[in-house]
Structures are given as C-alpha cells and as structure tokens.
C-alpha cells in the first residue's frame, strides 16, 4: 500500500518509477503483480480522438466604447459563439459551424470549418476575426464591432469539455446497402468496414475501470498542457454491465475536463471534419494512475486482447436507438486491421490515434519523472457502479 503523498515525495526527489500503460501491459506478461505494485509508482495513460462535447470559454476584455455581446451575436472566423453570458464572455463549442455552411444540403456535406478548427487556430496563435453585434444599452452603447484577436489578446481562454474520455465505445458497422456518413466516420455498405474509437489498453478510464483513483480535481494532461477533472462527464453511466476484469461492455463513465487553453498546443487540440456529420475537436488527454495497491496493477495491466467493444449497426440500430448489439470484439482483434464477423473478414479503422495516445502517455511520464507534475488526491469520487446513477433517454411527450 502506498499513498499519493508518498508517491509525490518520490516524484519530488526524482525517484518515482513511472511507466506508460502499454509498458505495464508488457511488464505484467512476465513479472508478478506483487513485484510490479512494489516497484512502480505511477502508470500514465493516453487518448487522442474526436470528442464533440468540447469547447472554450473566452473573455475578450472591453472595447473602448463598451459593447454587451451577451444576448447579442458573436462570430469568430464565422463560427457562432454562445453569448448567453455577461458582456464579453462567450463559449464556442467544437460542433458550431458558420451560418452559411452548406451543411448536408448536398449530402454528404464537407463541414470544412467549425468550432474545433477555430480552437486549433486559437491555440496555434493564429489571428482570428471577431464580429459582434448587440442591441445597445445605456451602459453598453456599442451596437457592433469587428476586430482581430489572437489567444494572447484574450483575458481568459478556458477549455471546458463537458464530456470527454469515454470509457469504452461502440464499433460502428453498416448493414445497409448504401454508404453512410456518421460521427464514427464513413461506413461502407454490407459490413464494408468497421470503425472504432478508443485507445484500448492505453485509454484512461479503461485502466481505472471503477474510477478508484480518478475524481473531482484530478490533475491531468489536457491538450498539451495541464488540466483538471472538473466533474463527471455528461451521459455518465457507471451501472453498465461489466466483465470480470471490470471493463464495461460498452460506453460507461465519462469525464468533464477543464484547463487553461493558453498553455495548450495545437498538436493536441485539432479540428476535425466528419464528412456528412459535422465538425468536432480531437482532444489529447493523459491521466496518471497512482499505483496505490496490487488491485490497481490488475486493472492497469489489462491488455487489448481482454478489452471488448460492442459492434453496433449505424444504418438502423443506432439511429433508431434499438439497443441492439450485433456482437463484441476485442481491441486486439480490431488493431490487427481485420475482424472476422458474420462470416466476413472486415477491415477496421480507428478514429482515435494509438500513436498519439502513446506519445501523450510518454510525455506525461516524462513530466512526472522530471518532478514538474505532481499527483492529486481527488476532492471527491464519482458515483460508482452501485450508486444507481444512470444515463436516461430523453423524455418525449
């Protein structure tokens, strides 16, 4: 048994033993759990995939002649921002697209530029055009402005993503006779391909399946900088059925994340265009898992071959929420490039980059080893499997 405090002492002394989640998987193939638990202090995880519930709060500061954009309209490079806040605070979400984007009027739409791309441009230090309009008040008389800003001109740029880091996810296939364009990518007809979206054995919440170490306030790698777990994520669903190794059979826990976007990097926050679907933001996340006891080593050493994802048809079952699952397949098989399913050999593709996930886990490992990144004790833990907390469908009356 170790405590976070003890591990932090070792980190400060430069003595902590830190390994990435894929390295611990390899270690566990030969070394006994007891030995690894004794020797290793921290396991770092990583993931890098499109996460639509992401966005940024911006504060522009006040113009000389003041404007109350709150309740008015604001566009950044043509992308509409949410203005239902104070005078010069806005929120731009990853899926926001310009009013004049053709969308799916010519199906499948391209969705060339949206909130995700704007975030990438801001983080990359590019100049962005701001157009604001307002109704004018006695204290905020300005009714319209047009200016250009970079991230350094902003007072705050707070990345706040209400749902990131899905614990496990569907494998999308298409049983219909025509190509479909989904948030899981382009799916060719008659099981022409199968797309998945998880870093598998490197993915943060698959390595701490019961969230025994991750909670409110956990310090993490977010978008190339430092961020924090801000809450449990929307659609959090801890009661999903699990296999013996604790891995949920489908999407389960999620996290809300927050961090100062000014210290993040465009390599780890990238705009995405999902043909026929819309725009998104590809987010790089790394979460450290303290090795507090032997049980944690059991969780973190779970391999791609032992993590299964549900196969779901996106031509009918997903759009109509039938709940039907066609089967399940391991990430080991998915990563081999082909799965055998329904008598067919189906080529696979991932929306989540394993290479980048590995890179992120590696960077976080270096941060910790160098003593600059200390672990945090969560302020509180999130509702668990037996809490009764459930993700409900919409009430339609």
């Amino acid at each position: 048994m170790k405590t976070i405090k003890e591990i932090n002492e070792r980190i400060k002394e430069g003595k902590a033993v830190v390994v990435t989640a894929d390295e611990v998987v390899e270690l566990a193939r030969t070394a006994p759990v007891k030995k690894i638990a004794k020797e290793v202090d921290v396991v770092t995880t990583g993931t890098f995939g499109p996460m639509c519930s992401s966005g940024v709060f911006l504060n522009f500061g006040h113009s000389k002649k003041r404007i109350k954009m709150g309740g008015g309209r604001v566009y950044l490079n043509g992308v509409p921002a949410y203005t239902g806040l104070a005078a010069v605070d806005v929120y731009v979400g990853a899926t926001a697209i310009p009013d004049d984007d053709p969308r799916n009027s010519e199906h499948p739409g391209e969705f060339k530029y949206g909130g995700g791309h704007l975030i990438e441009d801001l983080v990359g230090g590019k100049e962005v055009e701001v157009v604001g309009s307002a109704y004018g008040t006695d204290c905020y008389p300005n009714k319209g402005l047009r200016t250009r800003i970079t991230i350094s001109d902003l007072n705050e740029a707070i990345l706040f993503n209400p749902r990131n880091c899905y614990q496990n996810y569907n494998v999308a296939v298409n049983l219909s006779d025509k190509t479909i364009y989904t948030y899981m990518g382009v799916l060719k007809p008659r099981l022409g391909n199968a797309n998945y979206c998880s870093a598998g054995q490197l993915s943060p919440l698959l390595k701490d399946p019961y969230l025994k170490t991750i909670g409110f306030g956990t310090r993490i790698f977010l978008g190339g900088g430092v961020g924090y777990v801000a809450w449990w994520g929307t659609q959090y669903n801890p009661s999903v059925k699990r296999r013996e190794n604790g891995i949920p059979v489908g999407g389960a826990a999620t996290l809300a994340l927050i961090g100062d976007m000014k210290q993040m990097r465009p390599e780890y926050l990238k705009g995405a265009s999902l043909t026929g679907y819309g725009t998104s933001l590809i987010v790089g996340i790394g979460i450290p898992i303290p090795v507090l006891n032997e049980e944690i080593i059991k969780w973190v050493s779970v391999t791609d071959e032992e993590i299964y994802a549900p196969i779901v048809d996106y031509s009918y079952d997903y759009p109509n929420s039938t709940g039907n699952v066609l089967g399940s397949v391991s990430y080991g098989e998915l990563k081999s490039g082909k799965i055998n399913f329904m008598g067919k050999s189906i080529p696979t593709g991932s929306l989540s980059s394993y290479k980048k996930a590995k890179e992120i886990a590696g960077i976080l490992k270096e941060w910790i080893k160098s003593g600059e990144f200390l672990l945090t004790e969560p302020i509180f833990y999130f509702p668990g499997q037996d809490s009764g907390y459930k993700f409900k469908p919409m009430r339609e009356v």
Binding site: I282, G337, P347, G349, S350, S352
Partner: protein, 134 residues
C-alpha cells in the same frame, strides 16, 4: 512511363486472356491493383501499365477495340504528413491497401503506387490530410 486504368470487361471477355496477350505484344510491365467480377459477371480491373508511351497507348486502343471500357486514373492523391494524426480510419476504407498501418510504429503509411484514386480516404479523413491534385 506508368499509367493507371480502370477497365471494365463485358461477360463475354471475362474468361479470355486478352491482357496477357496485349502486354506481351507491346512489351509492357503490368501491375494489377484490384480485380473483381460482379454478380452480373462483368469484370473490373484496376491496372497499371508501364512501358514506352506509344506502346501503352496502342495497347489501350487495341483493348478498346476488343470491347473493353477503359478510363484512365488521372487524379493524383497525396498525403499531407503534417495533417495526419495516424488515426487509421482511412485504412479500413482504402480498397487496395494503399493506406496501411505500420504495426511497429503505429504510423499510417501511404503507398501512392497502389492508389487507384477512388477518393474514399479524402471523404473519410477527419483532418483533411488526404488531398487530390489533378
């Protein structure tokens, strides 16, 4: 020089060895990138011919005379490496294995020689790393 073509063979020609006859006659090297026969028994072949420019052209016109429908693949597909995140979603889409994941480095590699310019990867790539230049 090398040129790539998509060739459609009507059912009557599917079983005939016309390609081998033609390549021998004009002394061409060839590389079959993809071949399949539809349920209606029409054959489709994606093939690269290399040899003298005149020989390639003569071979193509002779095949056309035999009743083979031929389109040349003209667009040139490129990968912009800096935009690629190595996600691999294009790998499952590519019908000819021109996009493959290196199993050791997890890097997605593009082999232009295999590409038949179907442009599926262009639609499928979330970061617009695959582009067509005509």
């Amino acid at each position: 020089m090398e040129k790539k073509f998509v060739m459609h063979f009507p059912p009557v020609l599917v079983d005939k060895p016309i390609i081998s006859t033609i390549v021998r006659k004009y002394n061409l090297d060839f590389n079959i990138l993809k071949a399949f026969v539809s349920p209606e028994e029409e054959g489709t072949l994606v093939i690269a011919f290399s040899g003298g420019e005149k020989d390639v052209n003569s071979a193509v016109s002779e095949l056309k005379d035999e009743g083979v429908k031929i389109q040349m693949i003209e667009s040139d597909i490129k990968m912009i490496r800096e935009r690629c995140t190595d996600c691999s979603v294009c790998v499952g889409l590519c019908p000819v294995g021109a996009l493959m994941m290196d199993k050791d480095t997890y890097e997605v590699k593009f082999t232009p020689e295999k590409c038949i310019a179907c442009e599926l990867c262009i639609r499928g790539c979330p970061t617009k790393a695959m582009v067509s230049t005509i």
